[in-house]
């Protein structure tokens, strides 16, 4: 990776020289590992053990209970729809930011980061204030067009889109910025249309970063709670998402239901995070190959 790495590592892969943290190599390693074990691994093991205490059959029964099953399904399809829209709009936004000059460009660039700085619960409050059935715009949408947004799936998708907007934009933007435009110009000169140029020349190098950031936004959406709890309205079998379902089960002391759905959510999160990591590593390697 960095030039300094190769000669500096000893046979065991550790750095031969360089500074050692004041508490020494083994001390630092012990501190880091026990911190991660206490913070991450112990809680994960405990929830697995709790969910599996009635065996796999018990776990499956708890997951396939109608309310739990519906909550998981709703979470998955709203997150998938969000990921799709986010991939398209995120790429378009990144494209606009990199390729065009227009008034308000700096403002747009700043607005993209806004969702990272705004608490997700506040996001939910904002959406209710604008799109709620008792508010001006929300009331008009519902009465005139018959579109129910808040306390319905569209509100969930909207909240997820808000929260994850920066992910795709901020991943695709630097890659787009680094692209050589010669090939696009050659293709244009040879008579390729705008769409063909984009699809055949611009899109391929963006594919990996786009895929990894879209998957990351999907993973984030599966567990989202703060933005959704207000917007969704918590109606079982209609607008209750998995995270809200788990909260309900904790409050009514149904540990099996809470643990089972939690395990499914954790498994999805874990799988996606590992997949995204692998994709990112591939993207990084590819970039290194193209820039020796």
């Amino acid at each position: 990776m960095t030039v300094a790495e190769a000669p500096a590592r000893g046979a065991d892969g550790n750095f031969r020289a360089g500074v050692k943290l004041p508490w020494g190599r083994w001390g630092a390693r012990a501190v880091a590992l026990s911190y991660l074990t206490v913070m991450l691994i112990v809680p994960l093991v405990v929830i697995l053990q709790d969910g599996l205490r009635l065996g796999l059959g018990g776990l499956w029964r708890a997951i396939s209970a109608p309310v739990a099953w519906h909550a998981l399904g709703l979470t998955l399809w709203t997150s998938a729809l969000m990921a799709l829209i986010n991939a398209v709009m995120g790429t378009l936004t990144a494209y606009a930011l990199v390729r065009y000059e227009f008034p308000g460009k700096r403002l747009l660039n700043a607005v993209v980061d806004l969702p990272l700085a705004i608490p997700t619960l506040v996001t939910g409050v904002m959406l209710v204030v604008l799109y709620g059935p008792q508010e001006a715009l929300g009331g008009w949408l519902q009465n005139t067009l018959g579109w129910r947004i808040i306390f319905a799936p569209p509100g969930i998708v909207l909240a997820l889109l808000f929260v994850t907007y920066p992910f795709v934009v901020r991943t695709v933007q630097p890659v787009l910025l680094g692209l050589d435009r010669d090939q696009e110009e050659v293709a244009e000169t040879l008579g390729a249309g705008a769409w063909t140029v984009f699809r055949r020349i611009t899109l391929p190098p963006l594919a990996l970063p786009l895929a990894s950031s879209t998957l990351l936004s999907f993973a984030r959406a599966i567990g989202e709670f703060g933005a959704i709890v207000i917007v969704a309205g918590n109606i079982p079998l209609r607008t209750q998402t998995a995270a809200v379902y788990v909260l309900g089960q904790i409050e009514s002391d149904n540990r099996m239901g809470a643990s089972a759905v939690s395990i499914v959510m954790l498994a999805i999160a874990f799988g996606l995070v590992l997949l995204v990591n692998a994709l990112q590593r591939r993207a990084a390697n590819r970039q290194e190959e193209s820039q020796p």
Binding site: A8, A17, A28, V31, L108, V229, A243, V244, A269, V273
Partner: protein, 268 residues
């Protein structure tokens, strides 16, 4: 040289993006501001000066600052070990770091209840020492620590990787001790990464809701944080209180993130 088609393409893309951002982000933000000011500035101040609201904001602030302090210490160590050391299980651990990013906050709170709650694994030990974790501040700090785990580490790792070790080796050759090298060479190189990781951690901690709600229970005046107050006020239809607290909290974390951005840009 732009063809007519290119101009239209640009117009369409910009219009679509502008409409999207307006409907998704700017209009909701604007309506939160108007919602908070609906009954004038006096109503906002009156709502925010209630003792419960003030104590909720203080609680949030303390939890967040404590979280940041722990992550500065341990997050730096973890980033260091992951970049500088090679050991079995390193890449698995490296993948696990991102997990809190994707785990639902509700599940985080629930995991802590399973550990520290009344039927929890560690409850007998805690009871023996008379420590309360669940439905108390220590549990809420733990929940916030879990949720914000990746930020500091992920900001520091690339910086550490790019920094390499030549400067440290040079310092060591010139006779600097381990401590001196760390304080005078390594730490200054990390400061911008650390600042940025710190602000992201702080912003996330201030806004944490689900995890602290589950483990803390959201008892008014005892384990209620700013976000939990916003939620309760909304449920109780105290709209001005809810909206203005949401506005203040949003502005607070926005200021922190923008402030760090500004500092960083100034340095460059």
């Amino acid at each position: 040289m732009k063809s007519a088609g290119g101009v239209w393409q640009q117009r369409i893309i910009l219009t679509v993006v502008a409409a999207y951002v307006s409907l998704l982000i700017i209009a909701p933000l604007g309506s939160l501001v108007t919602g908070a000011f609906a009954q004038g500035v006096g109503a906002i101040i009156a709502a925010l000066r209630q003792p419960d609201v003030l104590s909720a904001f203080w609680r949030t602030l303390w939890i967040s600052l404590l979280t940041v302090a722990v992550h500065v210490l341990f997050g730096t160590t973890v980033a260091w070990v992951l970049v500088r050391h090679r050991f079995a299980g390193r890449s698995l651990l490296n993948g696990l770091i991102d997990l809190p990013f994707a785990v639902s906050p509700v599940v985080v709170g629930y995991m802590l209840i399973l550990l520290f709650g009344r039927n929890g694994l560690l409850f007998p030990v805690l009871q023996h020492f008379g420590i309360r974790v669940a439905f108390a501040l220590p549990g809420m700090v733990l929940a916030t620590l879990f949720v914000t785990l990746p930020f500091m580490i992920r900001e520091l790792m690339p910086v550490l990787e790019a920094f390499g070790i030549e400067q440290e080796q040079a310092a060591a050759t010139l006779g600097a001790s381990g401590w001196q090298t760390f304080w005078l060479v390594t730490l200054p190189a990390l400061r911008w990464g650390m600042l940025y990781g710190l602000t992201l951690t702080l912003a996330r901690a201030l806004g944490e809701f689900g995890a602290v709600l589950v483990i803390g229970g959201g008892v008014q005046g005892q384990t209620e944080t700013a976000t939990i107050y916003i939620y309760r006020a909304l449920e109780e239809r105290q709209y001005v209180g809810s909206f203005s607290a949401a506005l203040v909290l949003g502005l607070l974390s926005l200021t922190i993130v923008l402030g760090a951005d500004l500092l960083r840009r100034k340095e460059k």
